[in-house]
Amino acid sequence: MNQSIRRGTTARVAAVLSAAALALSACGSSSDSADESSGDGLGDVTVQFSWIKNAEFAGEFIADSAGYYKDAGLGKATFLAGPVAQEEIVATGKADFGLSNAVSTASAITNSDFPLKIIGATYQKNPFSILSLADQGNIKTPQDLIGKKIGVQDPNLSLFKAFLAANDIDEKDVEIVPNGFDVAPLEDKQIDGLVAYVTNESLLVKSHGFDTVDLSFADNNLPFVAESIITTDETLEKKPDYVKAFLEAEIRGWKDACDGEAGYEKGAKLAVDTYGKDIDPPLELDKEIAQAKQQCELLVNTDETAKNGIFTISDDLVQANLTSLKAAGIDISADDLFDLEPLTELLKEKPELAK
């Protein structure tokens, strides 16, 4: 008797589970089709960020609040905070677009055949750096790394090793210490340097009253694009207009975000007061403004984007990316990593975006 009751329960649990699985898969396919047939023109858009919702995404916040996504014919925009595996989220359809960097995306494509492409880049140069304190590590050149204790986050380990290789420094000469994204070990002088973002941790430590030194990866033989926009091959093939509409809204948002002091402040305020208001510990407005300014001056706007428009990736830059990737042990062709066709077409149709 007891036995049969239990068996009955098991059968029911199994039935519920398989029903749930069916429902889940049904959800997956229905949301896909909803994207295409939504009443809001080209459909809703979900964007996976690479980091918490701070001023790093000033352009996206402005594009949303100023209605640029809607203007371009898109529906509701949803932003997902990182850090996560952006490539996985986008490739499995949990987001339509993602912001990542060339190394990460190229890894996903070469190591696991992810059907993804980079379609434009917010940051022309990657913001990675070795952050140190002037009175401790004082790491100004790659040679200064020798004999130092450097905090490296696991996800950035291969990148850090590529940086060493690109500068002919033997891994054995540097002491690598596992570290999170926390800057405390650096400030407490337990480590001499930390893999960081010039636009983020560097400014954060500076705002705590420390005299900081940055050793930029991009300026020391490891240039590659970052906050690069990724989407799937399927989206590119089936919904070219959707892709172009998204790029248009993004470019408009970022042009506003980098439009002088007023733009920096607008983006930073949106991050602090609206999109990132739930972040704990709370974002600091001054630091966010400094970040918004730094990223525009250092990473978004370059001589090339002045000529070709922001988000563009020149042929030279594509080649420089591939060279860096090779240094990181990733062998990939330009066509397998980049698809700049929609962006080129968009800028041809609407040349005012490139100005």
Binding site: L17, L24, E87, T92, S107, N111, S112, P155, V177, P178
Partner: protein, 263 residues
């Protein structure tokens, strides 16, 4: 009887493997998770044995596994030794139990990942970090088991030793240890997966190439073949370790256990 003693752990391995592989197929196919990130047993076999780069892949996975086995070994020995000594002392002097148990409970109740930064601060991120973290996972269940075994000496046996002028240490040595053998082996068996868990957590905070480290990096680089292979080999080692402990238990208890010589 001999055949049976060897056959039982072997059978355990086979049953566990069959069940795991069955559950693996079922989970991957029923949940409908994207096949971009999931791998099936044949993918792991291809990665480790039949692909062009199989030899290189195998070398990478095995070198990481080797380090993890060493790390788990350190934790296993450290945790069991500590548990054995503590249990013995606790049973001999009951005051010790009142003094040590709260500390053990604290160490055990606070999640290891939360304690880890403190442990790395105190012990650095080398050998001692691994020994302490992996040891903590092993210590508590082993301690409770072994102490229980040592206490299960019957009053009659206790009296026999004391009547002949034996001290409480004699009771311990001549009666309690043999009586506790089944509990000690139970402790050893559950310590195998515990030590591996502890080692994997500790490796997250250390620098050497190991499974704990490699899993994180493989995840960051989207090397899902490698990731699944690492999970598979470390699980296999855990199952084999458990079976070996079971085998040792069967042999030792056949000789020294309660039913020794009766078979």
């Amino acid at each position: 009887m001999r055949v049976l003693t060897v056959a039982r752990p072997l059978l355990t391995i086979l049953v566990v493997l069959a069940a795991t592989i069955g559950a693996w197929y079922a989970l991957v196919t029923l949940t409908g998770v994207s096949d971009l990130t999931t791998r099936l047993p044949q993918d792991v076999i291809a990665y480790l044995f039949t692909e062009d780069d199989a030899a290189a892949n195998r070398a990478e996975v095995l070198s990481a596994l080797g380090q993890t086995v060493i790390d788990a070994g350190i934790g296993f020995v450290a945790g069991l030794t500590a548990a054995f000594v503590l249990a013995t002392v606790m049973v001999l002097w009951s005051g010790v139990e009142a003094a040590t148990m709260p500390v053990v409970m604290i160490v055990r109740t606070v999640p290891l990942v939360a304690l880890a930064p403190i442990i790395t601060l105190l012990f650095g991120n080398g050998f001692w970090c691994v020994a302490v973290m992996s040891g903590i996972v092993v210590l508590f269940p082993a301690l409770v088991n072994i102490a229980y075994g040592l206490r299960s000496v019957t009053p009659q046996m206790h009296d026999v030793v004391t009547v002949y002028g034996g001290s409480s240490w004699d009771v311990m040595r001549r009666v309690a240890f043999p009586t506790a053998l089944p509990s000690i082996f139970a402790a050893i068996r559950i310590s195998v997966p515990g030590a591996i868990t502890g080692a994997l957590i500790a490796e997250y905070f250390t620098t050497t190439d190991s499974v704990g480290k490699a899993v994180n990096q493989a995840l960051a680089l989207y090397q899902y073949d490698k990731l699944w292979s690492l999970v598979v080999v470390v699980t296999l080692v855990s199952v084999i370790g458990y079976a070996l402990a079971q085998l040792a238990e069967t042999f030792v208890l056949a000789r020294y256990g309660r039913n020794a010589g009766r078979a």
